[in-house]
Symmetry: C2
Subunit: 179 residues, 2 copies
DNA sequence: GAGAAATACGGAGGGTGCCTCCGTATTTCA
DNA sequence: TGAAATACGGAGGCACCCTCCGTATTTCTC
């Protein structure tokens, strides 16, 4: 799955430069709630075509922008408890508005190829879930996908308030204990 | 707030007819997830201008379509317990896909005039909330708005699964008991 | 260093949707 | 039945999505 062609051409310089610019611009434009792809291209000083060549879908761009953070969450999942980890995710969603958009596609029904990021994210949470179940600290009728869904639900959509989301997560965590 | 002008002209016949057609068409078009206003107008066999005259905003249309259901929820809130009521709301959201869209604007930050529907909905849930608090069956750090938010969150956005939403609501309800 | 081949770039263009505005058609009232 | 009031329709301006392809740039080869 790595180098197949013996003769690999060096990637063009403008390619790399533009990719970087796009990521930078996207970070900027997605700060607010709704940012258009055209705005990203404009901000990056790059044609719209270039944007699409680099990032074929909106999600691809989102996930590229937040790749670092997502990876961080993935890593933390390895040695944190379920509750703490969920709190961390929520906080990140509250801080970086775009994280919600980056994480939401984890469940896109089609999601074409279900980006690697998404798969890893799901794996991470599945592991956390399994651990909690094994410990007996989690009721058994809740799936790992459910957990993710809840966090997205708490931060998504109109009227979502990060401040309240924290409280609601605690309520939910209370309910999560085995009956 | 009622009849101010002494000389009230009878509303035109086409007005009423078109309004009816639009509601009918909207019911139809909004069955699926994403329905455009233009599609509604087209289906109704009516100009786009007419649609906007009748329903200045998307929410106005949503809420008009689901007015009956929303009123039903409002009424049930009067003599049902919090838990049962929330289950009913969730079920309705699962059944009628558009209900989510109809209820979500309850929290639109601007919401221009915060439609009467929305206000009544909030009042209803506030009453339920107050009753539950008085009974001591609800932890006191959760607001009535929170409750609404949760129900929307559970049904909103990508990957929302009505079947799972029921389970998650139960988890949440468990967490809702005073500690 | 020059020319060919590979690669990336930009943006025009076609499609959809949102919303406003206003000339025209219909309906009500006197 | 005609004037006044009212509603209608859809063109038009704007934004966004995404594709496609002629042109420009860069890398490689000799």
């Amino acid at each position: 799955m790595g180098e197949e062609t013996p003769k690999a051409r060096k990637p063009r310089a403008d390619q790399l430069r533009n990719r970087e610019r796009l990521l930078e611009a996207a970070r900027e434009v997605f700060r607010g709630e709704g940012g258009s792809l055209e705005a990203v291209a404009r901000t990056a000083g790059v044609g719209i075509g270039t944007l699409y060549r680099h990032f074929p879908t909106r999600e691809a761009l989102f996930q590229a922008v937040y790749a670092r953070e997502v990876e961080g969450l993935e890593r933390r999942a390895a040695d944190e408890g379920l509750a703490d980890w969920m709190r961390a995710v929520l906080e990140m969603m509250a801080t970086k508005r775009g994280m919600v958009a980056a994480l939401a596609p984890v469940f896109e029904p089609d999601s074409t190829f279900f980006s690697e990021q998404s798969q890893r994210m799901r794996a991470a949470i599945a592991a956390l879930h399994a651990r909690a179940v094994a410990e007996g600290s989690l009721r058994d009728d809740v799936t790992s996908d459910d957990l993710m869904r809840v966090m997205i639900g708490l931060s998504y959509g109109p009227g979502a308030d990060p401040a309240r989301a924290g409280v609601l997560l605690e309520v939910f965590l209370d309910g999560l204990r085995p009956r």
